[in-house]
């Protein structure tokens, strides 16, 4: 499935909805959105992952990239992370300042 990423910035929150496969080929697209969000000085970056069918290690690295691009106090929230991906994020230590939730409201 082709990769799609749409970003909406409202107030101090940037929300990115991701679809399809996030891998080495599509990760740069997400990285660009992260750079744009960082330029807008948002305080919160929300990544909606429910419609993501696959995330490779390059996708996980995009999260590190986001963490390093954003000021330290920025909250990064992952919503709907698949369990195996969530586990990988945890085991490799990338969960240090990333919050994972099942739903946006939770």
């Amino acid at each position: 499935m082709a990769f799609k990423a749409k970003m909406r910035i409202e107030g101090s929150t940037a929300t990115v909805r991701l679809e399809g496969e996030l891998d080495g080929r599509s990760a740069p697209e997400l990285n660009e959105l992260v750079v744009r969000a960082a330029d807008q000085r948002v305080e919160r970056l929300v990544l909606l992952l429910e419609d993501l069918s696959y995330m490779s290690s390059a996708g996980i690295r995009s999260l590190v990239f986001a963490h390093q691009k954003m000021p330290e106090e920025t909250e990064i929230l992952l919503v709907g992370t698949r369990p195996d991906v969530a586990e990988t994020i945890r085991l490799t230590g990338f969960d240090r300042s990333i919050v994972m939730r099942e739903t946006l409201e939770a």
Partner: protein
């Protein structure tokens, strides 16, 4: 000043197409596969190859997706380099075909039918899920502010552990057993134990299936569990990572190092540069053998492999090319993985020249000693090899290298089991072995009594003989000279007297080790009495025999408590760590009169660095107790009892800083086969309010 727009680099554009891929001439340095803008730079060298082809695979597939011969214009000297564009690095594996003569008598074994692993591969795929091949690594780990801890060498308490075996047993209770991530979950245990350095058995990619033997009873194939057969020196072992299927073993291992550092624990790697997994002429061709056999291996004049390692081949470490390889590798681990030090397996080989002769100033050892990147790394030599070269005390050290002190091990073992004639040598071993390391300080000697290679502590006091039948060699393998004593019964027993004696003997060994000047190393599991059922060469067992059984933490809580206190006691007393040896005086049944005679089994040392730091250690390996008159403690202090291995737990060791005073200040009773440790505190010192106890025993 306004920022100028940056121009995209010219070398980010391909110049031609080879094998269907856009490429351009690469950069010779660095060697290996390095991500660059738009692609990956591949660089490999061989001084004797006539041509080279880069072979690319889609991850996990058996057949290559492309073969890219290096054009002549991409070769500089003996280095073949090419940048390949538009590769999805996550989805590819690679290797090389090297063309050249097959002429073993001249040392050449080129075989282009084999796709060779890159010696500089920074990642290898997990062989349990497909072919073991080189992969491209991404180095974008978030280290935060981490860096090597640079703890003073002499303050270390080293804990030797197997990264898989430590948590693989289900009793570990961790979420990812047998992995780097699993080990992170056990850091609280290490902290509570008090060790400040872990030494990991090999974690460079190796072949765990490299063992032709099978279990004599079950018939199951035996493995190579320890991992002293390296396949890729720059790649962390993939199967030790819970995230290996994502190719994230490098990240997971870095995360382990970062967490250990946060807990104040250094990381030393056991590295194997004396030989490789390629064996001799009958072994497999994996990498070096096919790339440049005559350069990488020590060969006889007629092209056979020298075997100083006992494993078939010997890496040609003092060849300038190989020396550069070793240096590149260690610099990489020190800088990219923040490793604090290295322990070199069979390091005496690293002092041999290409013909095997001993060098007086081995270039490799000198380079490592003076390298700026490695300046703060601990360098520890296993100062012997499998061909009889034994350099404990004479390893070329450049005032930089420490050694596994094999003589310390042998002497402590002999003393504790009751041999006569070793009290004098024990005294020398307990003050940093100045006969071997004069003027080099206490960090030159790594004191150990047990290590992965040999008995565990529990087995040292439970077996007179090795029991290695499960290794499939009719009990012929493994050392016969163990200096062990079973305390009256060979192997497991219910006899309470035998068990009590074993408990005391284990405490005696650990107490002497932790009260000796020099850097102590503890074998993981010895603090809870781990057993291997008498197997003293368990390299081939990846199972309950070798895995850490976490149920022992509860079952042998008393021993664990003793060790924790003994480590804390050591950390509280600089005189035990830093010396000098001249601060130590020797005593016997009478103070200031040590008995150095052949039949003596009693030795007492006063480690005296003044009022705040004075420790008296009395060791008795006689089967009868002795009453020792005490030397006076420093002015204004009185003797307090830290440990008495003859006392019932919990009186065998007290809380450091809160030791009870010794009632009779003129003498101390040392029980049969036991060790007593006293410490000087002010009369109303830390333990002043503690219950008065005579020599720590119950009244």
């Amino acid at each position: 000043m306004t920022a100028r727009p940056t121009i995209e680099r010219i070398d980010a554009y391909p110049t031609r197409t080879i094998g269907g891929f856009s490429v351009r001439a690469g950069r010779p340095l660095p060697f290996g596969a390095t991500p660059v803008p738009g692609g990956v730079n591949f660089s490999v060298y061989s001084n004797n190859a006539t041509a080279m082809t880069l072979v690319l695979y889609r991850a996990g597939e058996s057949e290559p997706m492309a073969e890219l011969p290096f054009p002549d214009s991409y070769v500089i000297g003996g280095v073949y380099s090419m940048t390949v564009f538009d590769l999805d690095v996550e989805d590819i594996e690679y290797g090389y075909r090297a063309y050249g003569p097959f002429d073993p008598e001249r040392g050449h074994r080129f075989d282009p039918s084999v796709v060779l692993a890159d010696p500089y591969a920074r990642l290898m795929s997990d062989a349990s899920t497909g072919p073991r091949r080189s992969r491209v690594a991404l180095d974008d780990f978030d280290w935060e502010d981490d860096r090597p801890l640079r703890l003073p060498h002499e303050d270390l308490v080293i804990y030797e552990l197997h990264a898989r075996g430590f948590t693989k047993d289900p009793s570990s209770g961790v979420s990812a057993p047998g992995t780097y991530a699993g080990l992170i979950e056990k850091i609280p245990y290490l902290r509570e134990l008090g060790v400040n350095c872990v030494e990991l058995l090999p974690i460079f990619e190796f072949d765990e299936n490299d063992n032709p033997r099978s279990h004599p009873v079950t018939g199951e194939p035996l493995s190579n569990y320890w991992g002293y057969n390296t396949v890729a020196y720059f790649a962390p072992k993939a199967s030790y990572a819970s995230t290996g299927r994502y190719g994230m073993q490098a990240d997971e291992f870095k995360n382990l190092v970062k967490h250990l550092h946060k807990a104040g624990i250094e990381v030393i790697l056991d590295v194997v540069f004396n030989h490789t997994a390629e064996g001799n002429e009958h072994g497999p061709t994996i990498s070096f053998k096919g790339l440049d056999n005559a350069t990488y291996y020590m060969l006889t004049p007629d092209g056979h492999y020298y075997n100083f390692s006992g494993t078939g081949n010997t890496l040609n470490c003092n060849n300038p090319v190989v020396r550069g390889f070793v240096l590149d590798c260690l610099r990489y681990w020190a800088s990219e993985y923040h490793i604090d030090g290295f322990r070199f397996d069979l390091a005496a080989i690293l002092g041999r020249g290409p013909d095997g002769s001993l060098l007086w100033n081995p270039p490799l050892l000198e380079s490592l000693a003076y390298d700026p990147v490695l300046r703060d790394c601990k360098l520890i030599a296993e100062a012997w090899d499998a061909a009889g070269l034994y350099q404990v005390g004479s390893f070329p050290n450049y005032c930089r290298w420490s050694e596994w002190n094999g003589r310390y091990r042998d002497t402590v073992r002999r003393f504790v089991k009751g041999d006569t004639g070793v009290a004098g040598d024990l005294a020398t071993r307990m003050v940093g072995s100045p006969d071997l390391y004069a003027q080099r300080g206490t960090s030159a000697t790594i004191n150990f009594v047990l290590c992965h290679d040999g008995f565990t502590l529990n087995d040292l006091v439970s077996y007179n003989e090795k029991h290695n039948y499960a290794n499939g060699e009719d009990n012929r393998d493994g050392d016969n000279n163990n200096q062990s004593w079973n305390c009256g019964h060979e192997g497991p027993t219910d006899d309470p007297e035998v068990l009590a004696l074993r408990g005391r003997q284990m405490r005696n060994v650990l107490m002497i080790l932790l009260a000796s000047q020099g850097v102590p190393m503890i074998l993981a599991g010895d603090e809870v009495g781990r057993t291997q059922q008498g197997n003293n060469n368990a390299y081939c067992h990846d199972g309950p025999m070798t895995w850490f059984d976490w149920d022992l933490v509860g079952r042998n809580a008393d021993l664990l408590r003793f060790v924790r206190k003994a480590i804390r006691f050591r950390q509280a007393h600089p005189v035990l760590r830093r010396g000098p040896a001249s601060a130590v005086s020797w005593h016997g049944v009478r103070p200031w009169t040590a008995d150095w005679s052949e039949g003596c089994r009693v030795l007492a040392g006063m480690f005296d660095a003044g009022a705040d730091d004075c420790v008296y250690v009395a060791a008795n390996s006689h089967w009868e107790g002795h009453s020792l008159e005490l030397p006076a403690p420093p002015a204004g202090t009185v003797w307090h009892v830290f440990a008495d291995t003859a006392a019932p737990t919990p009186l065998d060791a007290h809380e450091p800083g809160a030791e009870p005073p010794l009632q009779d200040q003129s003498r101390v009773d040392v029980g049969p086969r036991s060790v007593v440790v006293l410490v000087a505190h002010g009369a109303a010192g830390a333990g002043g309010q503690a219950e008065q106890r005579d020599n720590g025993k119950e009244e």
